[in-house]
Symmetry: C2
Subunit: 418 residues, 2 copies
């Protein structure tokens, strides 16, 4: 790296988990069918959903809406009709006392986290330095690199609860989770990317309570949760409180290419997001919001989630788990209970090579996954567990997913053989 | 502002020229016909261009491209086919020796500047602090707020050349423009937003030479320039050298709502942009690039610029200038020679109120403009000139533009009458 680059940029430039992930996605995109891409977070292409968005887009072409929204800059809080539609849905479905001032559109969830993490952490106006606390790891790879001050994240190891059928579940280690006075915010993804964990109602209410007592925001990354895209397999209630910052996205509903994130939070936080949006990009892209407005306003999105999205992923995860059982025969493996999101989190205890090495060997065979150690942002100390896990998307073409799982089995066996 | 917010965020949160601009745009959008919006940078809605983009979008719906691009994350450098199309156009038209590695897509020009300004300025890895030098002001409002370190910009006053017919032209004051050793980069917009100035070939070659000698990048903000959108009224050659960073955008070609910026630069700079893209937003939206790919690849975009875009704005600016002559009768005013971009830069010498006050009075009458003082980012010292100018878009509906100019005339006259 050029030593004349800024210290700020040097945090971002160069290798990172997020760069690896997105480079691999780009490479897979260029390679087409030649690469079995179980690495990235691309949602499944569900024909019924695609048809729905195509129909919406055709309608915007026919009625002049497309001309209007493509040809102007939106305001820095995002498309007004969409904000109203989201407000109405949250009031109607969950009774949340939110107004339009509680909601902003961003250029996708990653952009939401960039804004929020850097709003609440680092050297602060009052002279203190604050940190982002993650109650649980593994956590989302994208959190690792976005805080502009180094070492801004602090994470905890989870408790591991063993379940039947080679499954396990991470649990927040509450006795070890206390918030210091220098906590700036707490963040969890629910469902968790990469594990498919869903923090249960008790865990969530304890987190809400702890953060309320400490007077810090609780950021809930809901990229896979309810009300949409609803990729969560048991009934789940979203939490709300004045200090909760709820992050949603249209990506896993099928529109990652249109980069649309949504933040629901206190008006003063939304106000800060407006400023960030204006200064980072002037305005956010409007098309994703426009395509989703009627779906959200009418509540049809809930029907689509219940009748199309959730059953689709439910079937896909059941297949993927059964393919593990078939192709991992004789291997000591565990899989995190897949309660939501679009990944299997595979744990190979005492794996004789690192997850990074397994990733490299799999990539050499044309199968992309993400090595586990990228999913422990802010976790201090060495913990062998993080080198024994990989994240595998089950959202892609089933033939590819089964092929990938078979190759993973072969390579893990080969690692043991030596 | 909450004193627990970060110092980083405090640079962005709160009032700024960019926030004012984008809030006004959002307000005008919500108000519809009730507000005469000559403030923002929305391009004109040119029917032939809109028809072209609608046709392209319909084609992507019909052939499955829309499903493909909306449903996946692009790589962090942007859509490959689009990068190739831009490379081919620049090689073919200008003979620039660029490869795909010289080009990246961003979430719009503002995002390009956020990345570039913060890559080249601030506290640097080698321990020095570097600054961004603007050879000329007035310059683009959006530059003012995006450097994450305070006071990162340094600007110069221009020379003023008086021309016929109440016109004038700003010139770089080269004797006063020397680059200190702590310069990190130099930036100019060409055509200049807000003035419509086009730095001439001599000025550009001197800037290329000075920056080459100092071994710093020369960032050329080409949001309105050639090859597209080509809103520049006399023949102009774009400059290229290995240290030039050329920033383009699809916004003024008619697609601001799709947020698509393009950077052409040395591969090491493009590599840094890839990382920023991945970490700031994972990927950039792909739809703008996809809609423009064939136009750029075939070179049809050049025909569209020559036959549609440029004649359209040429007529509009001629009208706007004539309306000034009509409605500013008896007022001491000057207008910057409109050589490109979509604004009139009006100067009222010795105006007895500030441009900010004039802005407020105009807004009270339903006419939005931008007060001039926001367009002197980094200019030290007090210079009354900056409070005597306003930026007026002539890209909107002609009836509105004439109405706005009439109201400006009335309010300036009223200011003099006290």
């Amino acid at each position: 790296m050029d030593p004349r680059y800024s210290v700020f940029a040097s945090r971002f430039v160069g290798p990172s988990g997020t760069r690896l992930l997105m480079d691999d996605l780009g490479e897979a995109l260029a390679a087409g069918e030649d690469l079995c891409n179980l690495g990235g977070g691309n949602p499944a292409r569900i024909p019924a959903l695609q048809a729905l968005f195509r129909a919406r887009l055709r309608a915007t072409l026919d009625d002049g809406t497309f001309d209007r929204v493509s040809g102007v800059y939106d305001g820095p809080q995002g498309n007004r009709e969409f904000l109203r539609a989201v407000r109405d849905l949250l009031r109607r479905e969950y009774g949340w006392p939110v107004e339009v001032d509680h909601i902003a559109v961003t250029a996708g969830s990653q952009s939401s986290f960039f804004i929020l993490f850097n709003l609440f952490t680092g050297h602060c106006v009052d002279g203190r330095r604050r940190y982002l606390d993650l109650p649980l790891t593994p956590e989302y790879i994208g959190y690792a690199d976005i805080a502009i001050e180094a070492d801004a994240l602090r994470a905890r190891r989870p408790l591991i609860e063993h379940l039947d059928a080679r499954q396990f579940k991470y649990r927040v280690d509450f006795p070890a989770f206390d918030l210091a006075a220098d906590s700036g915010a707490v963040c969890v993804s629910r469902p968790t990317n990469p594990t498919g964990n869903v923090l249960d109602a008790d865990e969530m209410s304890r987190l809400v309570e702890i953060t309320a007592s400490a007077d810090v925001p609780l950021i809930v990354d809901n990229a896979y949760g309810v009300p949409f895209p609803g990729i969560v397999f048991d009934a789940v209630e979203p939490v709300w409180a004045e200090h909760v910052v709820y992050c949603l996205s249209l990506s896993k509903l099928g529109l990652p290419g249109l980069r649309t994130g949504i933040v629901v939070a206190r008006p003063d936080i939304i106000e800060a997001i407006r400023s960030f949006n204006a200064i980072l990009t002037l305005a956010t892209g409007s098309l994703g919001a426009v395509l989703a407005t009627d779906l959200v306003a009418s509540g049809e999105v809930l029907r689509v989630v219940t009748e199309v999205v959730r059953p689709y992923y439910r079937q896909r995860v059941a297949d993927a788990v059964s393919w593990c059982a078939r192709h991992f025969d004789g291997i000591d493996y565990h899989v995190h209970k897949p309660e939501g999101a679009i990944f299997l989190w595979l744990w190979f205890p005492d794996l004789p090579i690192t997850a990074q090495e397994l990733y490299a060997r799999l990539k050499a065979r044309g199968v992309l996954v993400i090595p586990g150690h990228f999913f422990f942002p802010g976790l201090a100390g060495d913990w062998p567990h993080r080198h024994q896990c990989i994240r595998v998307s089950y959202a892609q073409d089933p033939v590819q997913v089964e092929h990938g799982i078979r190759v993973i089995g072969e390579e893990v066996r080969r690692a043991w053989q030596g």
